[in-house]
């Protein structure tokens, strides 16, 4: 980047009142980065453990069912659904639709609510049925 750091930047983040669309936008990147690092590592560990034998697999499930593993798993579940719903919203916006202020705000809020509901349902299922 050819930028002289002694020159001021125009305020592009601080001058806007925060809205749900801005939160969903940055959450898409945060959840994506989280899934791509922590999620991918856990996924690879699961498969490598399964391919390495029963002891390795037991070691993995031991961690996965510990309190730390469950905290990470709940976080990943939420990140997955938030990124998924936000991604689906992006497809609509890529098609040029959903930019009207109220529509845009409504679906931004819906991705936030939807990811929380789906995470809650998933863990309710895991705790009660499994």
């Amino acid at each position: 980047m050819h930028r002289n750091p002694s020159r001021p930047l125009s305020p592009h983040l601080t001058v806007w009142r925060w809205g749900p669309h801005m939160l969903v936008s940055i959450l898409h990147r945060i959840t994506g980065t989280g899934l791509a690092t922590v999620g991918a590592a856990a996924f690879v560990w699961w498969l490598v453990a399964a391919a390495s034998g029963a002891d390795s697999y037991k070691y993995f499930t031991g961690w996965a069912t510990s309190w730390l593993g469950i905290v990470v798993a709940v976080g990943l579940t939420w990140a997955f659904f938030q990124h998924m719903l936000s991604g689906l919203r992006h497809f609509v916006m890529d098609a040029g639709a959903g930019y009207e202020l109220n529509t845009n705000k409504f679906w931004a809020v819906m991705t936030l609510a939807g990811s929380l509901v789906l995470t809650a349902f998933s863990w309710l299922y895991i705790v009660t049925v499994r």
Binding site: H2, L47, Y57
Partner: protein, 130 residues
């Protein structure tokens, strides 16, 4: 040293005609990843047990191993494209930028290779049965 400004150097050259390629691949891999994760979630919910025997016997069947291999390729491709965009937007120092992109490429391929090998080992009967 040239007295040309960066904008003067590129003005009139037109676009490189490949600006949309990365963007489009990110969308295509997101559709594939979305569909394959729906498959994975439905499959895991339908599995009677997620213990060592349950998972390895399931992954040994073609109907599980092949979609799983596709899921690995699609997911790691997508997360590589996504992490690249995040780095391009936030890592401005040229050295750090180069190193980060290199690291993402290496780690993505490393992770995908471990995952693919593990699935193949289980699917082709190499996993020790205990």
């Amino acid at each position: 040293m040239t007295t040309e400004t960066p904008i003067a150097r590129v003005r009139g050259l037109g676009s490189a005609q490949e600006g949309a390629h990365h963007w489009l691949l990110e969308r295509l891999t997101s559709i594939a990843t979305f569909l394959l994760f729906i498959w994975l979630i439905v499959s895991l919910v339908r599995l009677p047990s997620l213990d060592y025997r349950g998972v390895t016997e399931w992954l040994a069947t073609p109907l599980a191993a092949v979609p799983m291999l596709l899921l690995i390729v699609s997911t790691f491709w997508h997360l590589k494209l996504g992490l690249q965009v995040v780095i391009e937007d936030y890592v401005h120092d040229e050295g750090n930028h180069f190193f980060s992109i290199l690291l993402v490429n290496f780690l993505t391929i490393l992770g995908a290779a471990f995952a693919i090998f593990s699935v193949l080992k289980i699917a082709l009967g190499g996993a020790p049965n205990v």
